[in-house]
Symmetry: D2
């Protein structure tokens, strides 16, 4: 059994790790930390876990206990993994970070977007971006994996076939993204209240959102150069789900887009290209580690519309983290992640 530690397990990505790992046949969560909830059993905080983790309780972060794990997941606000990752790596533990701490390769860019200095620039060199559909081989060897964010996963998986094939005008890409409210986390904030976020829709962060540089970095990698991206996130009255609606101008009309997408993801266990003409629903991936895609060219014009849906807490966070763990440990990549989405 793989011994798993979780740092900061009180938030939504933490409880989702616990839910998914409970059905993973090769993993056992042996330590989960939270300063504020130390001593509280996880099943008392999350009653859905009653019967699954009856002994496990939150504990104060302790390097020795975490360092004794085979894998440690960080499900923390940004900055925490900066402080602890180095020590765990030195202890021989694999670190899989669900936060944004090691996603941007450029420490200065990180500092600009997060408003504080990067806390562990010396580790950036070995951090591998945790998007298996791009980086599977590197993940197999990685000691430090920076799991891709939710918007970045949905957006990159939708754009990549076009960009890798050199088919899009890369100077004018648009990602109009809609997220469920759980993407804002479990922290108490007025904007995430039921009575504020319910029965309403709004854009936010149009001026600039922290996922913009992460997406741009991934798209630049795909094309080997600069790209122009406009990213507009929206808050949607649902708990889980991201729907990315992606717009790109194609420069070659002769290409069969459906075949292009199907071929790109033919061997990917967690990317599902739907039949031509489809409109994926976020609920079709609710609770499941799947990105479901459809590609359209409305009225046969040169503008391509890609529809991409994920569950922000699964393929956009905790499921993808476990997928990375499976790859890293040489397990079947689908282990613990093969269940279907919940619909309705």
């Amino acid at each position: 059994m793989v011994k798993v530690g979780i740092v900061g397990g009180t938030g939504y990505t933490g409880v989702e790790l616990l839910r998914l790992l409970a059905q993973h046949p090769e993993a056992e969560v042996v330590v989960i930390t939270s300063r504020s909830e130390a001593g509280v059993k996880v099943a008392d905080m999350y009653p859905n876990l009653r019967g699954h983790y009856d002994a496990l309780a939150f504990s104060v972060p302790d390097s020795a206990a975490l360092g004794a794990c085979d894998v440690v997941f960080f499900a923390t606000p940004h900055g925490v993994a900066h402080a602890l990752a180095g020590e765990l790596l030195a202890a021989g533990t694999t670190v899989i970070d669900l936060s944004a701490d090691f996603r941007l390769q450029d420490a200065d860019e990180w500092a600009r977007w997060y408003g504080q200095p990067h806390g562990a620039p010396e580790l950036l060199g070995e951090a591998v971006y945790g998007l298996p559909e791009v980086n599977r081989e590197q993940i197999k060897q990685a000691r430090l994996i920076a799991v891709a964010g939710c918007y970045p996963t949905a957006t990159q998986l939708g754009f990549l076939p076009l960009l890798e094939a050199g088919l899009a005008d890369i100077s004018r890409l648009i990602a109009d993204c809609k997220s469920g409210v759980s993407g804002a986390g479990r922290g108490a904030s007025v904007g995430s209240l039921f009575s504020e976020a319910g029965e309403s829709m709004k854009a936010y962060g149009v001026k600039g959102h922290r996922h913009l540089p992460e997406i741009s970095q991934g798209l630049r990698r795909a094309v080997g150069g600069e790209i122009g991206l406009t990213f507009v996130p929206h808050l949607t009255p649902m708990i889980r789900g991201i729907h990315a609606t992606l717009y790109a101008t194609v420069v070659d009309h002769s290409i069969d887009l459906q075949a292009l997408f199907e071929q790109r993801y033919a061997n990917e266990p967690f990317v599902d290209v739907m039949p031509a003409g489809s409109h994926p629903e976020t609920r079709s991936v609710r609770g499941a580690n799947v990105c479901r895609l459809a590609v359209h060219r409305p009225q046969g014009g040169d503008l391509v519309v890609v529809l991409s849906v994920i569950d922000n807490l699964v393929k956009g966070a905790s499921g993808q983290a476990i997928q990375c763990m499976n790859i890293r440990l040489g397990l079947d990549e689908r282990m613990g992640l093969s269940h279907a989405g919940m619909m309705p």
Copy 2:
């Protein structure tokens, strides 16, 4: 008092007309028709109207009764107004049609999108498109008003300042629109069930939606020529509200977009340009006859993002219809429509 008739009042735009007209000091609903519900009191079908319309009952459509009204609203599926409007116009009644029957000026285009021949092409010449912010003067004289649709209202009001000023690359406009479920009407359909549309998001009609030609027609009028528009509607888990996120490339960087929008709508009672940097929420217009706009230029690039929200049943349907009625009858345009949105 203005004598008002409503044809087809059992749907959401019908009950919303009743709700709004109940507080209109100069209008009295004297007849409301429904073949299927004839004899049923409106307050039995819509208990929110108890105490407001205790005597009013649905009746079988009758030309004489409708023709005796000063104004008749059609809150019907397409095709119904085609059949009845001519007779009512001949009787001297003003017809305000909330359906799509007279929105497209080209009968052949209408036939293509609606899959049946246009039923009253002879009336198209005098039909006035009911978007007061564009056509106020013509509405004052109109006998037949084709109230603008919900997506078209939000989209046109957002694009018009840019297009009228000649500032946008009109060949590549994008309208990414999100609608609440009430936009699909009150008909029983699986796709609009709570358990299907709840907790999920999806695009639909990417190949082509009936509001596309309506929007295109309005934008062509604004620029005096052809335009290129991609329109992607989405279904969102809320009852009311449309959020249009509009993308246009500006051709002149020197323009002050905020000032442009504020000036365009300075005298419009029902268009509210929010301060720079704002993100309008659909709930801020819930139940109110308002279109709320914000304009952004992310990262100072040449792509402009306009955010436009309305209540699809009010400024996107019944409220706008009453606004047209007020204009047509020389009443204060705001009469019966001056209440604030309901938040939360």
Copy 3:
């Protein structure tokens, strides 16, 4: 014009007062206080109010400014009205308190339930409980009105006809109540997050909820003696609305319950007894100052089921407060409150 002040206007009952007063022809809000938001325009915090209160801004509480008002509403957490009411009364202002500060006649009982000493027991003698259907005459003369709470309004209006007529076994009354999330207020708390309260239902406070003594006091008054009441509140995934399902054993089988209820409320402008066999929906009163009731005797047994719905922010708070103001000032009781609920 009546000069109105609002203390603590940043919460949901505050913004609802503003929404309703905006359409009140005889009231003008001249001061609204909030320590934390002093200087912020109300329309910047609540964009639905743009165009309605463009000059009004929150200010630091100031006794002189408030004392110069004809009426001051308290839309504050408990304890605040205790501290300020006396001074305002001394200045000749009518105080209408939406908080729980003066609802319980017994200061010791208040202290037990609220965990702090009562701050103004000397004012209890003149505080009038603001439930017009019970206390209309006293409200006309009151200087200090303690507006009935949301659960207490729905529950008392449902039980009163039975109890006043001496028809129920008063030792075993049950109120199973369901509330929308806005009842928990606008404070940031994890339990009220969209992702916590959405798509779920739970009871809370079964051991004892602060509205229990308030309801019991009202029912005792109706019967002139002790009563036995079990009150179980539930949190429901909707923004607005309370549905009270009330159970009582009747001691006289011969009575016509429908007639009893209709007669009790025959002259009440804001209580609507629905036809026999009805099931009122909370949405039928959304945004409206109405309590809608239905009475059932399932299977003809001796257990009576009363269904009672209100909008917790209107008839359960701000609307009822304005109703009290109208009564107090000798205005038409329905002024500003006559609009229909919003459905859908």
Copy 4:
């Protein structure tokens, strides 16, 4: 592998059977019938199943194909199992019926509540009521299992400890139950539309609901005599979940209710008695085959309040059906059903 057939798999209990059976290691769905959708792949209708059932398609009901199955589930409207069950039993197939066809032992009572004659009274003698916590031994031998309904499961599991121990006044039991909208099924009906059922709450069927005789039958069995039950179901704006709030008067004050409940369900894998003072949330069982209970005695009085939550589609339908199958076939009762609920 157990060969499984499903009759009528297009509804919510059908797709939920498919979702759960996809992760069942010993079951394989070999036939699923639907007249209206014959020829359609299940994964085309339910995209969440893509990758899980890529070959399986709906077929016209065929007795030979169904009779060749080891187990056939009926996920059909009432009346269908009446017509087909006999033939399948004759073929040696075990029939597990999720509909109401064989739940009531009395054919005449069934006929009264369902408005049509019972179609297979000759099979009632061997029909076993599929509530494993009551009937596990009989289920082991049963050829025909009538899976308990959703409200009846939540209600009976909550009342049984009290009733079996002879502790309650059985003449005045109250079940105030709240259900998510999926309980109304996937049929297109106005009342289940998002815009009708959303943001609202209402009681329904107060006069008499079809689950009343089923619950009463189960409670009578527990006490060995007549009982008096008032059952009020409510429609709640969530997709999944039932919350039963149960009221009973206890006749013996000395009993330790918490211990009573814990002992009653000590060996039950799918009933979870929460710690004293708890308030179970429906979301804690979302997607999981669990009934979660808490028992309260407010203010130490003689009225006991039991809170009982299930997912209506899992422990209230498809999960319970699979639990019955596991018991019947001698498999581990938890097989395929051991995953945690999804929260948030």
